[in-house]
């Protein structure tokens, strides 16, 4: 996609780079965009955050994206299959963590504790990436978890835990970090069995100049600076 250029600014020379990123990347990508704007005079980075699948649908319908950063490979693969993006590269990984309310009312210490019948557990539905990951660790640990709800997104899981409605939930490390004091994270070794990878790619079909800029943004994300920023938000390196 191509974004509008030179639409504002007295010099009439502003270039806009549009980045579509998964909602969980909001904090880190806002920082990255600032860095990019500082380094590129006259470039204005516009960020659009939504669920990865929303973004995919939008790009498929011709949304004016220059870069797409997905929260999972499955969604990126859809765009690859449609030939809508260039070569995707993994730029971060994320693992699951147990989130519990600050006072941990059910006393959850291990993954196995989640199987206790009186623990109100919420998971992501298997259809969404975090749910798929949850299913993997469940398998790996040989547990049969009985959630009271299979949520649509990590945010929904986290929301229930923060409100104290659920005793525990499985979310990503970065989500626990972003939530601050509202939840407490409980790490567990089985999380290694489900490492979630974040790929990024320039969106094809742009003009040369845009494609250039898009590649530069991807490069920034993959650079040491970029990785450091991501680490600050809890992401692990790919």
């Amino acid at each position: 996609g191509t974004s509008a250029t030179g639409d504002d600014g007295a010099d009439g020379d502003t270039t806009t780079l549009t980045v579509f990123a998964a909602a969980s990347l909001q904090g880190s990508f806002e920082d990255l965009a600032e860095q990019f704007e500082d380094a590129h005079d006259g470039v204005d980075v516009r960020l659009s955050f939504a669920g990865s699948s929303d973004l995919v649908a939008q790009v498929q319908q011709g949304a004016p994206a220059d870069v797409f950063a997905s929260a999972d490979t499955a969604n990126m693969d859809k765009l690859v299959a449609d030939d809508l993006v260039g070569n995707p590269q993994d730029f971060a990984t994320n693992t699951l963590e147990i989130a519990v309310p600050p006072d941990n009312p059910a006393g959850v210490e291990t993954l196995a504790d989640l199987a206790a019948p009186d623990v109100k557990l919420v998971l992501c539905a298997p259809e969404v990436p975090c749910g798929a990951a949850s299913a993997k660790v469940e398998d790996a640990a040989g547990l049969d978890l009985q959630p009271v709800s299979e949520e649509q997104s990590v945010t929904d899981v986290l929301g229930k835990v923060i409100a104290g409605e659920a005793d525990a939930g499985l979310v990503y490390v970065t989500d626990v970090a972003a939530a601050g004091d509202d939840v407490e994270g409980v790490e567990f070794p089985e999380s290694d069995s489900a490492v979630n990878t974040y790929p990024i790619a320039p969106v094809a079909d742009g003009g040369d100049e845009q494609a250039d800029l898009a590649q530069q943004f991807v490069d920034l994300v993959l650079s040491d600076d970029g990785q450091q920023t991501l680490a600050g938000f809890g992401f692990a390196a790919p």
Partner: protein, 280 residues
């Protein structure tokens, strides 16, 4: 069409004598048609995307059937709750005057403007385990979270303003003149309500109930936030559609079409009973 369109000597076929209405200005039909198309075209566009060969198996899958059933049950239940709470609310708003009633009326409309997800959060803060009423409810032995009750509460919250609004409007337009006559004939307020007020605003009441039902049927944000999503317990059809969308967007569209058909059937069925008003 029965209605003439402002021509000086139009030729219109009509199948029986009787009341005639003033024509609409002819130009009014153009924007009306544009408006109609604006709503209809997206539905058509959706229908063209559906893979009709697999449609039947999709909508009769176990998860789809469970979701549809749950949706119908909870929507019916919340419509009943809306009626029980909303009819008195509309009566008070339409017929009583006391300081602050205008503010109250505006506040009752708030669920309309609140993004449903935020509404769900607010409900959590109220009826959740750690919410305002959570402890009271827990002492009373009521566990609302993650239950079908929570779905009904969420749907009621978003649907209630529809009923109140449409009934209050009908009550205001109908005025209180017939109620005054009934009272002077010796009817107590309850009798007036039952035998005069409600029958007179029947169309408004009916359309309010249908709207509440429709809104409850389509409710997603507040439900997922407040009640969660578990097949057969809290996963209504809209929630099922969202989930399908993650893996198979076209299937989601197909399920949405099912929702649309159900809604149109309900609305149309209720319209049947609605008597036409005579013109003069």
């Amino acid at each position: 069409m029965r209605v003439s369109t402002g021509s000086t000597t139009g030729r219109t076929g009509s199948t029986t004598g009787g009341a005639a209405a003033v024509g609409l200005p002819r130009w009014a039909f153009a924007p009306a048609a544009v408006g109609g198309l604006f709503v209809l075209l997206p539905l058509v566009a959706m229908a063209t995307r559906v893979d009709w060969s697999s449609y039947w198996s999709l909508v009769t899958s176990e998860s789809a059937r469970a979701a549809l059933l749950l949706s119908l049950q909870t929507s019916a239940a919340s419509t009943v709750v809306c009626l029980v709470l909303g009819v008195p609310m509309a009566l008070v708003l339409a017929r009583c005057r006391f300081p602050g009633i205008d503010l109250l009326r505006s506040l009752v409309m708030v669920p309309l403007v609140l993004p449903p997800v935020v509404g769900g959060i607010a409900l959590l803060y109220t009826f959740g385990r750690r919410g305002l009423l959570g402890e009271t409810l827990e002492v009373a032995g009521l566990q609302i979270a993650f239950s079908t009750t929570a779905v009904v509460l969420a749907q009621t919250f978003v649907a209630l303003p529809f009923l109140v609004m449409s009934l209050e409007g009908a009550l205001r337009t109908a005025g209180a003149r017939y109620e005054v006559v009934a009272a002077s004939l010796g009817a107590r307020p309850t009798t007036v309500l039952r035998r005069v007020t409600l029958p007179l605003v029947w169309p408004g009441l009916l359309s309010g109930a249908v709207l509440s039902f429709a809104r409850a049927l389509g409710e997603f944000g507040a439900t997922i936030t407040f009640a969660g999503s578990l097949q057969g317990v809290t996963r209504t059809l809209p929630l099922e559609i969202y989930l399908q969308r993650e893996t198979d967007p076209d299937a989601a569209v197909a399920l949405s079409l099912l929702l649309v058909v159900v809604a149109v059937l309900v609305i149309a069925a209720t319209r049947q009973g609605r008597p036409g008003r005579s013109v003069l």
